[in-house]
């Protein structure tokens, strides 16, 4: 990959963030991970000060998104990303504790690419993340639209 993909991890629980990072690394993915523990900082990073997302133009990003954030709803971030002309092609992986079918359905409707439930069973969790790593290595992350 000429343009290395940056993984944007929006996860307020530091423990979860650490576990996700560890498992991604274990699966052999060594891309840069930019962590955010709240929605506002993530939105600022993604869309810039002007809120247009123009400064992310041309960057290859992958977003790991938790739905339960303290300051904003992950759903709103997902919506904004998918509505933004520069970011809409960015793959979004939703990671959350909810296994509510309604919520999963809503995420897919809004354009989320993968939905992963964080199971309490650690084996499944680690498996899911490792498979995600596998998925990262297979998919061609397009650069954000020019």
């Amino acid at each position: 990959m000429s343009n290395p993909v940056t993984i944007i991890m929006i996860e307020d629980d530091e423990g979860h963030a650490r576990l996700i990072e560890r498992n991604i690394r274990r699966s052999g993915v060594n891309n840069e991970i930019v962590p955010f523990t709240n929605g506002t900082a993530a939105v600022d990073y993604l869309f810039g000060q002007d809120g247009t997302g123009a400064n992310r133009k041309g960057q290859a990003l992958l977003i790991l998104l938790d739905l339960n954030l303290p300051d904003t709803s992950g759903i709103d971030i997902l919506k904004r990303v998918k509505e933004n002309k520069y970011l809409k092609a960015t793959p979004v992986v939703v990671l959350t504790t909810t296994d509510d079918s309604q919520e999963i359905k809503r995420c897919y409707e809004l354009g989320c690419n993968v939905y992963i439930t964080k199971p309490v069973n650690y084996e499944s969790f680690a498996n899911a993340i490792r498979q995600l790593g596998l998925f990262f290595s297979v998919i061609q992350v397009p650069p954000a639209a020019p």
């Binding site: 307020d12 629980d13 423990g15 979860h16 576990l19 560890r22 339960n68 303290p70 504790t97 909810t98 509510d100 964080k118 199971p119 309490v120 069973n121 650690y122 084996e123 969790f125 680690a126």
Partner: protein, 543 residues
């Protein structure tokens, strides 16, 4: 995450509002009891009043009839007295006629006077008899009449003698006869007696007239008194009727007001309850959600610790081997196999394993409980769709799915006639399959199971009974089994203590009730009552 911030969403306000509201419901009862007492007294008063009026009317009628009869009798007596007097006059007149005719005949000997005498004389005796008959009721007058009769007879004899003397040709001699025949004594007697009789009759007349007057006065006063009493009673009755109708109008207005406020109160409380219920649901959902998040960490890092444990003990084992200078095993074996440990090291490793195992099993259990709460709240949020359901078919399908367990437990189903319903299909499936599962699960060991499902309808409700011959439930546990995460009896079967809590919540949402009848070792019967035509409005959640 900010669990404290979310926890603030649930406030006890809802419950306090309900408790405060319910205090009012007892207030309108107190005046209601006192007014009913007063109403009974009023009704009694009206009955007494009516009976009094009726009695007065009867008394007046009876008195009037009696008095009228008495007046008629009195009047008849007065008329009788007058009759007697006129008869006396009549008699005296006839006697005078006979006397003057006799005299005229003696003087003139004209036959026309003889005829007149004869007609007068013929009238005298019948008139006398008539008088005797009329005065027969009065002993004084009877005696007088007897004496009068005597005198009249003597006088008639005088007349007869005078008429006989008419044959004498000499006029002077006839005048003598006339003189001789007119006995002054008899004439005097007749005059005296008739006067006495007149006096007597006058006395009677006066007395009887006074009597009749008195009776009439009495009758009219009775009538006047009675009428005024009736009028007074009628006035009282009108007053009472007016008063009671005014009270009734007031009560009606009050009732209408109370009804209106009651409706508002019911609406308010229903809204409060709904709000409280929704708050509880949100609370349960958020809590279970937020609890899961740290649990993922606990489990995750416990697993990380487990990995570390492997590394640590492998290193300990290799270190101890290096120390004892005995490289017994090849290097590559340590990676896959458990490190060989000895003595205190092995003890340490076992303790470590035990602790980790407890932590993990507790996390599993907690996760299951949280999952159960989540499922329950999710069920509570699901929208029910009423549709017509063939219950027999539904039960048959459930029986088919549990056929395998039934064969294992040697259980037999007996399905009676079951009324059909309009309700939510999924909810009913969950209700019946939970109860049938329970019946199969808690049979007595070594006793072939018999599970009966029967139904009947009553007043717009369908009643279903699921009974078994299983191990039964101690009556002290009948409430407990419906509580979330609570179970009863021997804990030899897997389960979370969720089934019955869930079933009861569903039955309630479908507008029904459920109960259990059971004793230890004697089987159980679960009774479910559901509305036949459920419209989708449950008691705690209206559309």
């Amino acid at each position: 995450m900010e669990p404290a911030g979310r926890l603030r969403l649930i406030s006890p306000g809802g419950f306090i509002r309900i408790a405060r509201g319910s205090l009012h419901s007892t207030l309108p009862m107190t005046p209601a009891t006192t007014t009913s007492d007063a109403r009974r007294r009023r009704a009694l008063g009206q009955i007494v009043l009516l009976s009094a009026g009726f009695l007065v009317l009867v008394a007046i009628s009876v008195a009037s009839v009696l008095l009228v009869n008495k007046a008629r009798k009195d009047n008849a007596l007065v008329v009788h007295t007058v009759e007697v007097e006129s008869q006396i006059s009549n008699l005296l007149l006839e006697i005078r006629r006979a006397e003057s005719a006799t005299r005229a005949y003696l003087l003139t000997t004209e036959p026309q006077y003889l005829t007149e005498y004869q007609s007068a004389a013929a009238n005298i005796l019948p008139a006398l008899d008539h008088l005797a008959r009329l005065s027969a009721d009065n002993p004084v007058q009877t005696a007088n009449t007897a004496r009068l009769k005597d005198a009249v007879h003597r006088r008639l004899a005088d007349f007869a003698r005078s008429i006989d003397g008419a044959g004498i040709t000499d006029i002077a001699a006839r005048v003598d006869v006339l003189r001789a025949s007119s006995s002054t004594e008899a004439v005097q007697a007749i005059a005296d007696i008739s006067r006495a009789m007149r006096v007597e009759e006058d006395r009677l007349f006066g007395m009887r007239t006074a009597n009749a007057d008195q009776t009439q006065i009495l009758a009219s006063s009775v009538t006047i008194a009675g009428s005024s009493m009736v009028i007074a009673l009628a006035g009282l009755a009108i007053f009472l009727v007016r008063r009671s109708s005014r009270i009734r109008d007031e009560a009606e207005t009050q009732l209408r007001d109370i009804n209106v406020t009651l409706e508002t109160t019911v609406d308010e409380r229903t809204a409060d309850l709904r709000e409280a219920n929704e708050e509880i649901q949100r609370f349960a959902y958020i809590v279970s959600h937020d609890l899961r998040s740290p649990l993922v960490n606990i489990m995750g890092f416990t697993s990380e610790l487990e990995e570390l444990r492997g590394d640590i003990f492998r290193r300990i084992s290799s270190l101890s081997r290096t120390a004892s200078l005995a490289p017994a095993l090849p290097e590559d074996a340590t990676d896959s196999a458990e490190p060989v440990l000895e003595g205190p090291d092995k003890q340490l490793s076992d303790d470590f394993n035990e602790s980790l195992a407890f932590i993990k099993s507790s996390i599993d259990k907690m996760d299951r409980l949280i999952g159960a709460i989540l499922n329950l709240t999710r069920e509570g949020r699901r929208e029910f769709k009423p549709e017509r359901i063939n219950i027999r078919e539904l039960i048959d399908n459930i029986a088919k799915t549990v056929a395998h367990q039934a064969v294992e437990a040697e259980a037999r189903f007996e399905i009676g006639s079951l009324p059909n319903l309009v309700s939510d299909r999924l909810a009913l499936e969950q209700i019946f399959s939970n109860l049938i599962d329970n019946a199969l699960k808690y049979l007595k060991d070594g006793v072939p199971g018999e599970i009966a499902i029967t139904g009947r309808t009553k007043l717009g409700f369908a009643i279903y009974e699921i009974s078994d011959n299983g191990r039964g439930i101690d009556p002290k546990d009948h409430q407990r089994i419906f509580d979330l995460f609570r179970r009863a009896g021997t804990q030899d079967k897997p389960g979370q203590g969720i089934g019955l809590a869930h079933v009861r919540a569903l039955v309630r949402r479908l507008g029904g009730t459920m109960s259990v009848a059971s004793e230890l070792h004697n089987g159980s019967t679960f009774t479910i009552t559901l509305p036949i035509n459920w419209t989708g409005k449950s008691r705690d959640k209206e559309s």
